[in-house]
Amino acid sequence: MQRHISLTTRVGFALALVLAVGGAAVTVAALQYGRQAAQTAYDRLLIGAADQIAGAITVRDGAIAVDIPASAFQLLALAPDDRIAYAVIGPGGSLITGYPGLAPAGDGPFARAVVNGAAMRLAVVDRPFSERAFRGSVRVVVGQTLLARAALAREITTGALWVAVAAGVLMSALAVFAIRSALSPLVQVERALAARAPKDLTPLDVAVPREIGGLVASINGFMARLDRQVEALRNLIADASHQLRTPIAALRAQADLAAGETDPARQKAIVARLHARAVSLGRLTDQMLNHAMIIHRADSVPREVVDLREVAIRAVYESEGVADADPAALQLDLPEDAVHCMGDALSLTEAVKNLVANAARHGGAPVTVRVAVHDDQALIGVQDHGAGIPLADRGAGMTRFRRASGVSASSAGLGLAIVQEVALAHDGRIAFSDGGPFEVALVIPRVRP
C-alpha cells in the first residue's frame, strides 16, 4: 500500500504556512503600528512644547522677545533620555534665541535633521504677528532625539507580537483539537469495521458527519457488492450440489440401464432418454453459470451505452440454434431509431435469450422480440401467443428454482430469476402485459443520445 503524508502532518504544514505568512504580516503591521503610534505620541509632545514657546513670544518696542516657559522644557523632558534642541527664528532667518542652524528645509510641521551629531525629529510652529511695530511671522523649531520614540515603538511592537504569538499558540492548540475531533468519526468507522464478525457484510451503521458519509456509503456499497458476489458464489455452489446431483444420478441410472439392456429397440429408447437428459443437464448448467456470471457482471463490468435493437437482434440470432422453437416463428419488432441505455450488452442479451427460451417452451408461436420507448424508459420484451404465466406465479417465477410447473427435465427454472437480476442490475424492472399477446419485458432507464 502506498504511504501518504498523514493528515496531521498536512494540517501541520498548512498551519505552519498560515502562521508564518500571518506572523510575518502581523510583525510588519505591528512594527508599522508601533512606529506610527510612538511617532504620533511624541510629535504631540514636540508640538506642545513648540506651541508653549510660541505663546511666550512678545513684541516689545518693535523687537521680538521670548521668555521661554519652564513647562516647555518639562514637556520635552518627558522623553527622559532624549537630547533636545530649539530655536526661535525671526524674520529673515535671524536667530532670536536657541540653537543656531536649526531651520528645517521642508514646509511641513515636522522634519528630520542631524543636530550635534544626533538624528532629531523637529517640529515647526509659525506664529504670525500683526502689530503696528512688527508684522510677520516668527518661527519656533523644537527638536528631540529619537530614543523615547524608538523605545515606545519597540514596546508597542513587542506587546503586539506577544499577543500574536499567544494567538498562534492558541490556534495551534485549537488546530490539534480540531484535527483530532475531525478524525474521530474515521476512528469510529475503523473500530466498527474491526469489531465485525468475519462474515458480516451488512451495511455499517455508524453516525458520521456529512463529509465522510460518502466514504461510509462507498464502503457499504462495496460491501453490498461483495455480499452479492459471495451470495452468488454460495448459490452457485448450493445449486450445483443440489440441482446437479439428481440429473447426474439419473444419467448414471439410465446409462446403467442402457448397458444392461439386450433388446436393441428398448436400448435405443433408453439412449434417446439419456440424450434428452444430457441436453437438459447442459441447459441447467448453462443457466446456473449464466446466472452467476450475470450477477458477477452486474457488479464488476462498467456500463456502457448499449443499443437495445442490437441486443434484440443478437438474442434472436443466438436463440436460433438453442431454442426448441421453430426458427420461422421467431420475429423482431424494432423501431427505426436507436434505443440507447446504459448497461451491459452481454447480460441484457442473456436475459432476452432466457425470455425467448421461456416463450418458446411455454408460450405459443409466433414469438416476437420487441424494442420500444416510453418516455424515459426503454423496453425490450418477448411476446408470445400462449396463455402466459398465471398472476400468482409471476413473483415466484423470479426466484430461483420455483417454477409454476415444477422443475422439469429441461429447465431448472432459472430463466425469470436471471431476467430479474439483470433488471435490478440496470435499475429497471420486469413488466408483464396481458390483454393482447402475453409479453414479459425488461424496462430500464433510457439515455437520450
Binding site: 521661554i68 518639562q74 523632558a77 537630547r83 526661535v88
Partner: protein, 351 residues
Amino acid sequence: MIRTLPLLLLWAGAAFAQATPEAVAAYGSEDAARGLIIRSSTDVDALSPALQAFSATRPDIRITYEQWGSNDLYLRGEAACRGEVAASDLVINSSVDQQVKLVNDGCAQPHVSALTTRLPAAARWRNEIFGVTREPVVMVYNRDLVAPADAPRSRFDLIDLLRPEGSRFAGRIATYDIEASGLGYLLAFQDSQTATTFGSLIEAFGRSGAVATCCSAEIIDGVAEGRYLIAYNVLGSYALARASHDRRIAIVAPQDYTLVLSRAAMIPRQAANPGDAGAFIDFLLSDAGIAALTQTQMMLPEGGTDDMGLGPDDAASLRPVALSPTLLLGLDRAKRAGFLSIWRGTFPATR
C-alpha cells in the same frame, strides 16, 4: 539679545585670555602607565581625600587634577567638544546646568556600570552625566554678631530682617555674583523657578544694598571676619568644612526649601582615557568614595545633619536639582539676558 552678545564675547574672551586652571594637583607616580586628567570646579582640598583614596587603589594611574572656575570649565569643555583644545578625561562641575548643556550638545560619552544604574533618576541623564555628590545650599551667618535667636530660618525670615528701614543687616548680606560664577547663576535661577519668594528676596536684597561677590571661600571669609553678617546660597560643603574649624560660622538650611546640588561628572567624547575616568566615577559612587566625600562634607547623609538644623523631618523641604534637559532653560540666551538684567538692576554696585 543685543545686550547679551558683547557679554558673551567678553565672557569667552576672558576665558581664553586666562585659560589656565586656578590650581593643579597630581596624584600617583609620575612613571605610571596611564594618565587621567580631571578638570573640575571643585576645590582641590575638597576632592583630595577621594583622589588619594582612588590613587591608592590604582597605582598604575597618574592623576592630574585641574581646578577651574565653573564658567571657564564650561567654556573649556565646549571648546574641547569642538576640538579646539585638548579634552580632559573627566569633567566635574558644580554648575550642573552647563554640564547638562554639554551632554545635550553631544559632547559626552556614555558610561554604564552597576553603580551608575543604581543612581536615582534625578542624578543621572542618558548614562552620560552623573551626580556624584549631595550638597545642600545653605545660609551662613556669623555666630558672634548674630544671635541664634535672630538668625533667619527661612527666606521669609531673611526678607523680614531686611525689611525695616536702617536694618543692621543692610549692606551686610552677601551672595554669589551670578555673572562671574556659573554655580551662583544656577542657584539663583533655580530659586526663581522654585518659589515666588525669590522676587521679594531679590527686591529686599536690592533695597538693602546686599553684596554680590565672587567665590565661596571669599564669601565665607567675609562672614567669619564680620564684613558680612549673613551669606545667602552658599554650598553646604564649603560652609561645613569651614565651620568644623571656625566656630564663628553657623549654618542654616532654609526651612521653606533647601536646594540640594549634585556635582555632575561627565566623560568628554574626545577623552583619551575614558576607561579610567569611568572607574573614577564608579569609585566616587562606591562606599569608599562616599566615605571620602563625606569626610569633606560633600555627601549629605540621607538622614540629614544637625549642624545646619536639617533633621530627618526636613527631608520634604529638600529640592534636589535634577540632572535633566529642563536645566537648559536657564542657559537660554533670551532667558539669561532677561534674568541678568533683573539681577543687574538689583546689584548696581557690582557693575
